[in-house]
């Protein structure tokens, strides 16, 4: 079965665009124009120049010798943590701001959880001289103070989302409301492969540079483009979608997605959507969703704010549904241990989101000759306080 989006924005039974009519013209405009714009030679040139000169791409594919020795496999790290702003998120915001300019938009809005996407959005807005407003749950603003200040320093306005649980999903609700209120001059830069079609596919395409580079780099190092296994963490799923993209339809490559199990699958404090979720509709997309029996969305929990989302992108729901992806649920404490371990073994302090992907090594089977690429989606600077609180290092 080929993994691809159909013309209505569905991956199998997941996806679509379940949006209020007020947003229909915006979504329709994007749907009709985005492919033409992003496949235009001029756009591609600008995009790749900025990725090279501003973001610092290609990011290295680093052979992690000591990690490999410990886990008895050939392990490579795709160093998205070395991107400008500290995570893969900027690949998408560069693409979308260029798109917004082509669409003639004057203002940018975005939602953010951990603040990484907010920072990446504020950054490209500063770069392009565009007005930027970022919606962030009140609770997350408290948890991620340095990123709030970074956004402000970059000239963005940060607006607290005070409804519901005051975290990422509420920030997303608020951004959508503001888009409804300002449909003409504003572009909404969604930060993951979620939301109504065409966002999931568009964001995945901007992030697909990750697997595009892995192919070239692995060919140089191993003489083959395809690893045996690619591992990435999944919040909404944008870094995973980018790392998997050019391997979706290569059945010899195992795609492993690490979800956040929080305090444990059955603890009531988890964000492992493929285990705990049921088919539902949130933020314009039909996907797996953590919810009550009555269909109310529940508040997820993860120690990493970036994985703290009650759904997953429709493409991942589909990969799960058809058995193309292997999903593992990594608990808070195991992610923290893996973060500390990588710091000591390789001198790389990972974002706690990315540490989930590292720990997945303990939860899957593989052989000593297997080539494994782990997408290291971000660096741990933003998480220092969480590491300090954790204390066990």
């Amino acid at each position: 079965m080929k993994i691809e989006v159909d013309k209505n924005g569905f991956y199998g039974k997941f996806g679509g665009a379940y949006i209020p009519e007020m947003l229909y013209p915006n979504i329709e405009e994007l749907k009709e124009k985005y492919l033409g714009i992003i496949e235009d030679e001029d756009f591609k040139k600008k995009f790749s120049e900025l990725l090279r000169d501003y973001v610092g791409r290609p990011t290295p594919l680093y052979f992690a010798a000591r990690l490999s020795e410990k886990y008895k496999a050939k392990i490579y790290l795709k160093r998205e943590d070395l991107c400008h702003t500290g995570a893969h998120k900027v690949n998408n915001t560069i693409g979308q701001i260029l798109l917004a300019q082509k669409l003639g938009k004057k203002r940018i809005i975005a939602e953010t959880g951990a603040g990484q996407h907010g920072v990446a959005t504020a950054t490209v807005c500063a770069l392009m001289g565009m007005e930027c407003t970022v919606y962030m749950g009140e609770v997350d603003m408290e948890r991620q103070k340095p990123n709030v200040e970074r956004m402000k320093l970059l000239g963005a306005t940060v607006v607290p989302a005070t409804s519901g649980s005051k975290t990422l999903k509420d920030a997303t609700n608020e951004a959508m409301r503001q888009w409804i209120n300002n449909p003409v001059d504003t572009h909404y830069i969604i930060g993951s492969v979620v939301g109504p079609h065409p966002y999931p596919e568009m964001v995945a395409r901007f992030q697909s540079v990750i697997s595009e580079e892995i192919k070239i780099q692995l060919k140089e190092k191993e003489g083959r483009e395809n690893p045996d296994i690619v591992i990435a963490c999944v919040g909404g799923g944008s870094n995973a979608a980018g790392a998997f993209y050019h391997y979706y339809n290569s059945p010899d490559v195992r795609l492993v997605a690490a979800e956040a199990a929080g305090l444990g699958i059955s603890s009531g404090k988890s964000a492992a959507t493929t285990v705990l979720g049921k088919l539902g509709i949130l933020h314009g997309s039909r996907t797996l969703l953590m919810q009550t029996e009555d269909g109310q969305v529940v508040e997820p929990h993860s120690i990493s704010a970036g994985l703290d989302y009650p759904g997953i992108g429709p493409v991942h729901a589909h990969l799960f549904d058809v058995g193309r992806g292997e999903f593992v649920a990594v608990e808070d404490k195991d992610a923290m241990k893996a973060g500390v371990e990588l710091s000591k073994l390789e001198g790389i302090i990972p974002a706690i989101e990315s540490a989930h992907a590292i720990h997945a090594l303990n939860q899957i089977k593989y052989g000593p000759d297997d080539v494994i690429v782990i997408n290291l989606s971000g660096r741990g600077d933003k998480d220092l306080e969480t590491y300090i609180k954790w204390g066990e290092y």
Partner: protein, 271 residues
């Protein structure tokens, strides 16, 4: 055979100044749903829209969001709602429309939901996150099997071509969102909005039109009614419920509705 629906009857008998009132089920208190409906009818409104609360109401402003949250905290659910509505037709004769988001309905089971609606006497649905295409492909047949009319929204951004397509696929009324906004975001009606109402009025569409979002008092109701068949009031009514004297809930509701219709109401003291 279905008897002619209450919605059809209403629009046949009355072509102007139709007043629809929205409130959230289970708000302010869990068991207020049916008493509030009765008071809306006694007060002289024409349509009752019952909001099915949802954790993530993206098309709604702060007032309705807050009422959704309180209703959910009160224990409201679709199961509970249908229990409450089971006997509503003993006291409520107006058309009743359920308004809300798709996810709770999917969990309840779409067909089971429609069946229950028919059983208790619900006439129609407004589901802001159900777009026309998905409606046609997946929902239309089930809705009509259970005699439920689906109402679509249009906004100032909606193209003429799409308004016509929506008109063709509607058989109750069309909900005109007064400005590009979420509920309760703006109040009052500007000249620009009036031009939009006129533009749509001149399209010659077959379904009646009700204008909603931002209608809050006698004046805005009057302006909206001038360009359409009537209007829908939500957030302003929720505020009335919020501030009402509990012992006199029905009286306060009645006074508000009369005020909308005849202008004799002091909005500043209650809303």
């Amino acid at each position: 055979m279905m008897k002619t629906s209450r919605i059809d009857h209403l629009f046949k008998d009355k072509q102007e100044n139709i007043l629809a009132i929205y409130f959230t089920a289970g708000y302010p208190e869990l068991e207020d749903t049916v008493p509030v409906m009765e008071a809306i009818e006694e007060g002289g409104a024409d349509i009752i829209e019952v909001g099915m609360p949802f954790s993530d109401p993206v098309a709604d402003g702060p007032t309705i969001q807050e009422s959704n949250k309180i209703a959910l905290d009160n224990g409201m659910s679709l199961k509970k709602l249908f229990e409450q509505l089971a006997k509503m037709r003993e006291t409520v004769t107006l058309p009743v429309i359920l308004m809300g988001y798709l996810n709770p309905i999917i969990q309840y089971g779409v067909e089971e939901f429609c069946k229950k609606c028919q059983e208790v006497g619900v006439d129609g649905l407004i589901l802001p996150d159900l777009p026309m295409q998905q409606y046609l492909e997946e929902y239309k047949d089930i809705f009509s099997q259970y005699g439920l009319k689906n109402t679509f929204l249009i906004s100032p951004q909606t193209s003429e071509e799409r308004i016509k397509a929506i008109d063709q696929n509607s058989d109750g009324f069309i909900y005109m969102v007064s400005s590009h906004s979420i509920t309760g975001a703006k109040s009052g009606i500007s000249e620009e909005q009036e031009r939009y109402f006129e533009r749509v009025a001149e399209l010659g569409i077959q379904n009646p039109r009700l204008i909603g979002f931002g209608i809050s008092d006698h004046e805005s109701f009057g302006k909206a009614s001038k360009h359409a068949h009537g209007a829908i009031i939500g957030s302003a009514f929720i505020k009335v419920l919020n501030n009402a004297d509990r012992a006199n809930l029905k009286r306060d509701i009645g006074n508000f509705i009369k005020g909308i219709k005849n202008g004799e109401y002091d909005y500043t003291s209650k809303a």
